[in-house]
């Protein structure tokens, strides 16, 4: 359970599929327009339950609690062999093969 005052993330549906703009590609037309917002939880709530947050600019936003203490997990990714080969090839193209260790 997340406590009042915790930093959390809420998810809400802004437009249901039938409310969406016309002329969308069919794959987009079939799914809702969804919003994610972070803020301070206004009263205790469990993950997956309705919740209300106060955002950094003081707005109150309602939604479903989807994240407690949301952080960042994006990275530089795993090894990409093709990039390694590109780096080697570029150096050799300018400096010549003999210059490589």
């Amino acid at each position: 359970m997340a406590k009042q005052g915790d930093w959390v993330q809420v998810r809400s549906v802004i437009l249901q599929p039938q409310e969406r703009a016309p002329n969308l590609p069919s794959d987009t037309q079939q799914v809702p327009l969804v919003q994610w917002v972070k803020g301070w939880l206004q009263s205790d709530a469990d993950l997956g339950q309705p919740a209300r947050v106060r955002t950094l600019t003081g707005r109150e936003v309602a939604g479903t609690l989807v994240g407690e203490a949301p952080g960042y997990t994006h990275s530089f990714g795993g090894h990409i062999r093709q990039l390694q080969e590109a780096r080697m090839g570029i150096r050799q193209a300018l400096w010549g093969k003999d210059e490589q260790p």
């Binding site: 703009a21 969308l24 794959d27 987009t28 327009l33 969804v34 600019t57 590109a86 193209a93 300018l94």
Partner: protein
Amino acid sequence: MSASEYQAVMGRRNAIMKSAVGLDYSNYESGSLAFDYEGLMAATGLSMQDVLAVMQDYGVGNTPLLELKNITALARKYAGPGRGARILVKDEACNPSGSFKARRAALSVHIAKRLGYKGVITATSGNYGAAVASCCAKAGLACIVVQECYDARGIGQPEIVEKARKCEALGAEVVQLSVGPELFYVFLRLLEDTGYFNASLYTPYAIQGVESLGHELATQCQGLYGQAPAAVIATNAGGGNLTGTARGMRKAGCDAPLIAASVDLSGLHMASDSQFNRKSFTTGHTGFGMPFTTWPDRSDVPRSAARPLRYLSRYVTVTQGEVFYMTEMLAVLEGMERGPAGNTSLAAAFAIAQELPWEALLVVQETEYTGAGKHQNAQLDFARRQGIDILTGCPKDQVPGRTIILPEHPGQLGVKDLDLARLRRSLISRALEGAKHPPEALDLAFLAEETGADAAFVAETIQQLQEEQHETT
């Protein structure tokens, strides 16, 4: 939420924009398809000196113009005798928020503060969000950034996730959405609810901010090399980068040609949820570049101040694989980790330098910061997990959304020229569609300016379009 509420908010868009931008666009309309573009640009009331002073105040600009000597030497290995221009790059990553967008943001935030707004909102998934957040931090204003970030599965494009992190690190609130053009509806509601300023990328303020970049690079070329550039290459998406740079160069007395470069994402639909995470570039690509070049007024303000077809003399595309490869080249030959999206123009420059004489200067007018999520390694790892094949071979054999092909050697880097006459014709056709009555002399002169073409081309195109319409009716 309801469909009727959606329609009601969209119906109020002009009124909302008027109060959120501090400009009455109707003052510049002629009643016909033409409008007073220069009048709109002058509405800021700021001279170039004023603009440079604002940049100074926000710690923006005065970025170094660096000569890429090793990349130039490598390009010359593939060029004919006497060919291979000196490639220079404006290291815009040195701006506080890590990209040239700081220039666009500084002037907008300066105006917002001067007009007494308490906060600023911007709709962007790109570097501009961080730029606005950065300037708001300095100005002591609240900031909300609205971004299209996730697909329906809730999977975020790592570059956009990184932009969200950066905006939050700079003190902004970030509103994240799934894929769809109705982002504009959320944006309008936020403007209405908060009364904040709309730091649109397409106001005269934003574009005049970029003019400082063109002015600087022209002045630096003269000061460092005693000559004007033979050409300047700009990565093109919404057109503001190219428009502002060109206008600033002209104000510094430099009329060097401007070349636009975009990443070729042909075949991918920008509003498609399932294709959203099959792109490895979130900006600088043809998905924005083509529609905004041929119809600038699709932006979030009534009349866009970014009108690239007025200024560009050539428009080329490069592939995702080529830009990633060029980003590696910048790292391992010049010791600079930047981009990748901002290196679109650099990839084009490697090929175009080979067409120009040895003594010519070819200016790439931006770099951008790199980081987790943004970096080519992060993007290729993500693409691979989305089922996209990462290959080495001939980069032009790519199929956007299916394959990314890194060149086997630098000699495979090349550009593909877009047909400017076709783009001009497309703009004229779209302008005529929206016209209330047949074009008059004023409109013809306006369309010649809009397309960077002459009056004869406009007249001939209109006649062709009318004949085609006649045949189909």
